[in-house]
Symmetry: C2
């Protein structure tokens, strides 16, 4: 029977879950997978935490050096996060000939080329299924299930925190602040929620997923990013009336005009399978030119779901001697060869606060028409205070034209303000 | 660059799609996958069909012998279907040292052990992603994405024909016969629809998927099977009113009482992600003890979706020299060691046609209670002709008790007939 020794760097939530699965299921893996995987050591500053999890004292390493010289360690699991020590430790592990399994999306999004070069040089494995969408095998699917396809688009709800917040705003009518507070109370959002609510976390994941989908390195600098902090519950409610659900989507498209990659709040039609992905669930919807639509759905975070992805990588590495790398056509150190779209097209939801008087709608719709933005639906709601809300849904048009239109509208005396602008994906 | 030569056995719908993808995308695969895959020959009785697809005459083989002695052929794709010549051809290919990729669920469900033994003996690959759920990488997910999990349940809409029929019955109020006719007109159902509508196709797939999920061979003989031909549109309509959608599900559960595997019409709650899988789409919902819920969704059939799965196997086989086999704990030739559940538990929807008179409901509910079947919801509809329909939803209880209850009810003078009995999965 094949054997593999594992070191776990970091025993936080995911590290703890990984330790638990690996130790409790050793016999199960021997039976079902034909491999004997043992945790040989852990690296965790908080020794008490390690002991609480049941790690023997002799297996608590005191430095990364101790880990990488340990001949019993074949696979190093990095679940520290961030790009500080995690980067140093991962590079040391790779350069010491250890296979690395990581859940670190930020590290991967920012330093993929460095890591992959080291892995190739040392002929070791580098696995990162847990970096995106927790326990859902989306990396495996992109690497080994979709090769026959030119992938046309990827659309994902790839951040559970913001999906929880948006679900609560829609279902309970809460404001953003109220929903955030509840998410923090439940441990779905951190005390400083910036990485989630401003879309950085989703940006890292979209960078990784779209790089794999489009076979070229998509750097985070190429991803347009907009978070959910500016979302008004009124827009969620108006959208609902029109048959849309608001989601923070990571969107990647490979079009004739180039690649477009963006993270922003998006209305999806209620019959889109992404619309019913609620709470902290995640989902990724792909369109391939051969397979058509496929969608993967599941838990994007948490000790055991993410631990499940890590352990699936560990078992894979333990069973097989061949390593797969991304092998982008374009040099993974950069994207000079990748053509990015300068503009993109979408449908738009626009909400204006206007003077409640005759002829306003005509003037406004005239402005849209002047900019070649075609309107598909309009709704006007009198507020009873001399103002009205005008909701406009456009046909597909270029974002640049919509922005020009909105800038012009803002100068009209009858328009008090542009209250909301949300892109729509059917 | 690695090279691989492919032979395609059978140029029907899926064979044609596979040929098209492999030939049109040769350069794409060289660039993105680093492999040069060429179609070296095809075996197809209908030479005209082969020529129409663009196959050069020199590449049209006239016998399986010609294919397996061809030194340029590394990978044999079998898309003939059935267990006649397909079985013979696949065995010849394997025993000649060729890797086999197949979409043949019936062959795999019935002769897996024979095929796998031959592949192991000859140290060649045996891939079958396309056998279940078309282009959705469910086999890959079970083999390489869920290893960390004891899989507790698998529930799938794994037959597109029946899902199309049930969707139309629900949305348009059509009868089974009307929906079947339309499905045949559109090419979703065959002239003889038995394999689909009686659940045989789903049984083959459930046998394969649950074998992988539970790490033990589940033979088709162990799968309880019930098709959709007896479905009354009234039951779909009553279920709808109560918040349920009717689906033909393949259900596998690994419980303390043993494994239960069954294919039958099932009501799922409308907020279950399976409820919104409509038309000819398929989906598989898994629960793992670590990962929790995950679901994969996509096209279960068709030239290009199934071709996509076949080609992903071909590319995988072309790129890698290691082969993965199922490696069940229990001998895959049988399941003597597998404990199967003798009975199972579920919630039930029951519809009775009864005499519309006072005291009937009390008598009927008394009969349920006498058999320890607890009722959660009752609805009585007077038909105005002296009869009434009584709809009963039970709490979770053993199927054996429900059957006993129904048998007793049938003997009551007040009960004209048991009109419908549908199992419910939340």
């Amino acid at each position: 029977m094949k054997k593999a020794g594992v070191a776990i760097l970091g025993l936080g939530v995911v590290g703890g879950g990984t330790y638990q699965i690996l130790t409790e299921k050793r016999e199960f893996f021997k039976k079902t997978q034909g491999v004997d995987v043992t945790v040989e050591c852990v690296l965790e500053k908080n020794v008490e935490r390690a002991k609480q999890l049941g790690v023997e004292e002799a297996k608590i390493a005191s430095s990364i050096e101790e880990v990488v010289v340990n001949p019993n360690v074949d696979i190093v699991v990095e679940v520290i996060g961030g790009t500080g020590v995690a980067r140093t430790f991962v590079m040391k592990a790779l350069m010491s000939g250890k296979t690395v399994v990581t859940s670190n999306k930020e590290l991967f999004a920012k330093h993929w080329s460095e890591l992959e070069s080291a892995a190739k040089k040392m002929n070791v494995g580098l696995f990162f299924e847990a970096s995106c969408v927790g326990g859902v095998p989306i990396i495996r699917t992109l690497q080994e299930g979709m090769q026959a396809n030119k992938i046309l688009s990827i659309k994902g709800i790839i951040n559970g925190t913001t999906n929880y917040i948006l679900t609560k705003m829609a279902d309970e009518g809460w404001s953003y602040e109220e929903a955030l507070k509840e998410a923090q109370r439940l441990g779905y959002a951190e005390f400083n929620p910036t990485a989630d609510v401003e879309g950085f976390d989703a940006t890292y994941k979209l960078s990784i997923l779209s790089s794999l989908a489009f076979n070229k390195k998509i750097c985070i600098e190429n991803v347009y990013r907009e978070g959910i902090t500016g979302i008004d519950k009124e827009d969620i409610a108006y959208g609902k009336e029109l048959g849309y659900t608001l989601k923070l989507l990571g969107i990647g498209k490979d079009t004739e005009n180039g690649v477009e990659v963006r993270v922003h709040p998006t209305f999806v039609k209620n019959d889109n399978p992404l619309a019913s992905v609620n709470d902290s669930f995640n989902a990724v919807h792909l369109v391939g030119d051969a397979v058509g639509e496929i969608m993967l759905y599941g838990r994007g975070a948490g000790a055991l779901p993410t631990g499940s992805a890590i352990v699936s990588d560990v078992i894979f590495a333990a069973k097989h001697d061949e390593y797969f790398y991304a092998g982008f056509k374009n040099n993974i150190t950069g994207n000079k060869e990748t053509k990015f779209a300068k503009d993109f097209s979408s449908k738009y939801y626009i909400r204006l606060s206007v003077k409640d008087t005759a002829g306003v709608l005509s003037k406004i719709s005239g402005m849209f028409s002047k900019h070649n933005v075609s309107i598909s639906e309009v709704k006007q709601v009198s507020m009873g205070d001399g103002s009205a809300q005008i909701i406009i849904i456009t046909h597909v048009c270029a974002e640049s034209l919509v922005k020009k239109t909105l800038a012009k509208l803002d100068t009209l005396a009858e328009v008090f303000s542009v209250k909301g602008m949300v892109r729509i994906e059917d």
